[in-house]
Symmetry: D4
Subunit: 248 residues, 8 copies
């Protein structure tokens, strides 16, 4: 029941003043909020999958959550035991061992946007895949270039040309170690870039810390970042940029 119907129902005597007050105060306050704020975002967001973050949950809990899902759901940061629990709970789940992801439910068929995804090295691929699955689940096509490197800057030019030719709306760049690639890419890109530091590397600045700091310190305007290994968040934001931009 929407707000205006409720007011009318009260005026018509179909509900008492107590019922109206209660509905307005507690039960419906969420609907009001949604009604007010989500009118326009609902269309945009339609198809955003549920995301379950397996990392700090037990396999049992993850399995139980997976079994209860009715709409498209992505389980990320899952280890082998989490994935086994999902397989048992949802036999037709789409399991990706190499990046710790399980997809439950049906991916969208119509593509509503297009983004680019670039990795510096092969170690960054699992995180890039997390971004890719998230974006695809939101109906956004991904143009992918792996292992572009930064040590050989001449290798960057062809992938960037492809991104521009394919007319992507945003580019996700996953890089560990020194994390210099997003800065270089941003200097060449006409669209926003989202840097994803990857937890490779050892010693001082290892586990993605140098990469994150380097991206935060970057002088290239147009670059924003997500946390270390948060491919999911980068993919979701890049997809949102693409979908919002194309809605006009």
């Amino acid at each position: 029941m929407d707000l205006r119907s409720l007011l009318e129902a009260y005026k018509d005597g179909r509900i008492s003043v107590d019922e109206a007050e209660r509905a307005l105060r507690l039960d419906y306050i969420e609907s009001i909020g949604n009604d007010v704020l989500f009118d326009r975002s609902r269309e945009l967001r339609k198809g955003i999958p549920e995301v379950v973050y397996a990392f700090s949950k037990s396999p049992e809990v993850v399995g139980r959550i997976a079994a209860s899902r009715e709409s498209l759901t992505i389980v990320s940061k899952a280890d082998g035991r989490h994935l086994d629990a999902i397989r048992e709970a949802v036999p037709d789940a789409d399991i990706h061992e190499d990046c710790g992801i399980a997809i439950i439910g049906r991916m969208p068929e119509r593509m509503r946007g297009r983004i680019g995804i670039i990795t510096a090295g092969t170690s960054d691929i699992p995180i890039a895949k997390e971004a890719q699955f998230m974006a695809e689940a939101m109906g956004v096509e991904c143009i992918v270039e792996y292992d572009v490197g930064v040590a050989g800057i001449h290798r960057i030019i062809a992938p960037m040309q492809r991104m521009i030719d394919e007319d992507v709306d945003a580019i996700v760049v996953a890089a560990g170690m020194e994390g210099a690639l997003p800065t270089v890419i941003t200097s060449l890109s006409p669209v926003p870039v989202i840097g994803v530091p990857v937890s490779s590397g050892y010693g001082m600045g290892g586990k993605g810390e140098a990469a994150l700091m380097s991206m935060l310190q970057s002088c290239s305007p147009g670059l924003t970042v997500v946390n270390i290994d948060n491919g999911r968040g980068a993919g979701a934001t890049a997809a949102l940029i693409s979908v919002s931009g194309r809605r006009r």
Copy 2:
């Protein structure tokens, strides 16, 4: 001279093989790069101001740079002595003491996009203004809401409604202390949000560290961040999202 003209000039004997080689190797290699990559971004980026970061430069150096500028330039992170040097070097510069910014040259008149800017408290306003001037210099209009807070969550609803009504393409949220506001805003926003941690706060997690970490840890998809106090970068990226999205 573009690449094809150069090839023809060589074929026609107007330039020698040595001149052609030299042009291709060294002098023109930059143009080639630009030609290849920046065809499409040039239009988008037209009007992006030069940015000079005063913080780690002496007032003399900043004054000299300011005096030499011919196109729109924004000097940021300038203290009183930097601003005095600019005033002397460029008497008609537009000086903003409260946020350490000087604008040299003419701001664009035609607006090509629209973004929102929200601050958690009054301490965050100088950084928000940095974002605003940067975006406006890129021809993007800014809808601004200051002092929205997070301790009283009911105060968030009206500003968000305005952002949606004004149809912004991205929202910059500046917040210090605990930095929770961008997470809450992102949960309500249909467009991408860029969090700017602000270096207020003291003690453990002070100077923007807690705010940055909190934003990086945020569960709300659609939120990316820039470094502490980097209003300039947030404004530039939000403006780029708006302009890229509207070019279609």
Copy 3:
């Protein structure tokens, strides 16, 4: 023998001056301290369980300690091997695998107070349970609301209403990741809130660090914190607030 009896025994010649001096100096100094300071706290604290922190002890040591307990004892931060050692040593111990807790002895029956316990997500539940068992062992009833979230702020209102309706004396809020929930809860709460950062989250600010810093930076008066994952300490303090307040 209390102090006055001792003085009298000495005056009456039942003990020598040497015995009196020795009793006062060494053996009885602890009793004096207790006598002086703990008169009033004893009643309040009656029923406070012993707590054994298993984390940095070997399973053998934990088992031996468990077997030797005569009064109510809570073993916390126990892993599977610790719990097995307890099971063997105390077959009727109450074992909670999901939160690493074993309860040895009898829980109090009469409830002397009431507190609220709220978690941001499902990952925070084991730590919340640690708080709950600790408070219940102190004779304090717990009103529990799990998975309240912060990304959807409208979901906070109903649980808070319940806390107020149930007239709790303090609220424990367990939250990992960005740790924003305790700040929001405190802004709505008429009673003190104790934030427990939870060691979920990865990357920069992960393992509860962002959550702790965010809570320490919070602007909401009425919020204090305990260390990351210290559900036990939060539960004990909340219970102490409730019991002290109700003693009047």
Copy 4:
């Protein structure tokens, strides 16, 4: 206009359905929230002063805020220039140079509770005073013991006896350097203790870091902490514990 009056006004035709909807949606949503949640807390919180945190604001901004206040307001973390601006803006403000505090408006006369405040050394006194003024502004009397130390543990006993005799409801303990005093006090206290790390100390663990960490690591149940130098937050929470406990 409260919710029920609004409903009746609509039913009676005094306001149109559009007016009713608008009132419910945007303008009144804050009141609804307040109405629902703050019924009970309002009484408790009556008399809570506004707090202005001067640290990251310019003197001009602080002066302007001070001049605009109509109810009791505490300005904290103010340096000499902030205090001068307040003096000029509000000549009868009560200025405390030694702890960077200005009190604007009238302190409450009736005391509604009582807390204890203890410092380890003389360096901790300014922060302790911040707690004291905050609590007194909330109508809570403060029993104060300065310079209790931890290096001479025998000096702790008399102050603790006084706290118990005065029947305080909570104790704020401010300590810098190694920060051991709150742990020792908590072990002797029948009421909750709030530790305030103070930013004295130099070298590794200096500026309050060791003190904060030591308090977070404390084994004494009943101890919670606020951030380094946050006397204001500790005083507010201790006062809230006292007032909530005594309302019954």
Copy 5:
């Protein structure tokens, strides 16, 4: 051959000038150093065991080193696999599983000094034992008091009285968590105290970090520290203080 004999051998023609030069330059330079500097320390140090730090070595390497020892050797920080390798290599080694120590060779029989060793809790005992074995291997008797705590300060008095009665020359205090005990002990001790932070504790300041910082920040003169878990170093230094002091 000592230095004077060498000079005489040369003068007497028993060795050539080349041989003398070579001996002085390279081969004997070490002996010279020893001769010059260690005259007095040799007596003191006689009986100092070799120490092998197993932590970052493979079990094979540790086993091989153990088998090759001819004088008293202590292997510390050994895990189960290191200890197994030692057992196989040196069947009559004295193995202490609970503190990861193996003693190879014969402990001294005559005691040349006496120190005290105190722990805050049971988790600190393995590190205290490391100190104890090291000191005993240097011929120094250890007066040990475990589990003294800091939360109950009255429990500290009797152990301290014993330390004084036994006339120890130095006291090693091992403490994890908040690490307050060494500060308190030092305030009561007439002899130097060496604090050993222990890597118990979790969350912020865990793994001994808060304990180390707290000890470094301590105001009690007479306290120095060694690194986290370095029981071996604390025991060696305390023993050296005792032996040096008693040589007079």
Copy 6:
């Protein structure tokens, strides 16, 4: 009145049971503690100066404290304004601008021990002087060697020979930057060494952090450390080692 006199006074009826109880409980508990524990340390400690740490106190407070001292007092970490306040308050104070120290009262004349003090460079001298004044105030003579360096290891041998010839009981080594000197000195020293990291150095590990960590990681048994720049603590402990050792 000592304990036994008090017991007799009570037995003789000179004081009532109430008076006896009160004396034993509160007023005299400090004396009892002192009586029990400090019998032996009092003699050793006789002559230990009061130490006032100026750093986190205002000049006014430091001046007032200085004026009130009756026995030997050392004010350390004093800046120019602190020293001016002391000069005004105590005109005949002995002021040492170069190391921020003021000595109030009379230094002891009879030397009861001897220690060595070594610095790596000239930047370390102010901290070394802090150690020296503290030790001399405790009646301990100091053998001083400045600017010994570590980059030229051959320069270490003569100073060490002198330390041994002078028969020092402990050596304080102050070193900033890489902090390697205490490790090297300890390898050559027959007596305990106390390392004082000095807050020179810039960049990563600057302000004494690398020096502290390097000393904590040192493999040389016989080395303990105090906090960065804590010359006072190192001097006091070295003096205590010397005085305790010589009392036998």
Copy 7:
């Protein structure tokens, strides 16, 4: 086809203007870069092995990469499972379990330079071997001295004499714990020294952090560093210094 040939082919009509443009723009841009910049470095670098960093890759991926190599390749930071995968994929690979290295292909026979490699302790040997294999694969001979120590400085002299006698062009020094050895070596060395901090050590500054900081803080000119455990990078740079220096 080099640049000049391409220009001629175009002039001669063997390729069209479109083909020429395309070749210059995209396909050949890499060659141009190489051609321009790498003329001289190619000779020097001839024989530099490919390096595969196994740490953050799965065994399957590492095995696949190993199988695909045609030229000399070094796999570093490989654990047991990585090495098993390599053994299966490339049966004649040269596997070094003790330092996690696999060498695929043929090492060079002719030595083009000579460097020294020194370790402080036995724990540093695996990292030193990484440097050695890397340098040897680049055709550079290694003079190796293990277990030189820093605690006994007299033990440093003979190894240094050997380095000088063997006329090495650079010295790699691997050291964990306090990391003082590279500073001491550099003070004695006529050639550049590269410090490699090793991740041994525990507690504060452990895992190579103190060693790295100590080396960064070193006052000895001639010392540069690589990251913790980066033996590979140190070996490659030392070899490059040797080969570049000898090419003249």
Copy 8:
């Protein structure tokens, strides 16, 4: 007197055995060390200037040191007050205000080598000059390229071409902010590169921390680093590489 002369003097009876022993033990041990080790390095190092690090010294001390110098000396990290003290002490000193350097004495005239120096931005120039003056003082010519940037990678090619054409033996690259330039330069360079992180930048990773970590994490073999802002050390090492390489 060298070693052999001393032996002869003793044999000839010109000095007694006591005198010979003493000379060998103490006085001459330094000469022996020098004699043994510095034979070959002396020639190389001839002309290395003394370096005085002003940062942590008072202006008076720096002035006094400057006045006492007889050979070429470089004072670095000097602020205005240090430079004034030098000006007064040594009127003809060569003062460089912009990089805090004073040169006392005569720079060498003959150049013995050649290195390259590159900066990412104008903020990095003062540190680059420190490297330049140090190298020039060692008789090494510097090819300098300022403000090369990393955001526009095409701008890197011409400067690199110049470095190769000028046949430099090593390249110093100074870069703040994200510190990516040394990685890119190393990928293009046939000679060793020394990265100098510069303390520009603010927020997370500011003050050179991100730059240092990024360089330490770099994948480009041939890159080593010095500490943040240590231009002096980088210049000295690059010069040493050049001079050692050219001595053959």
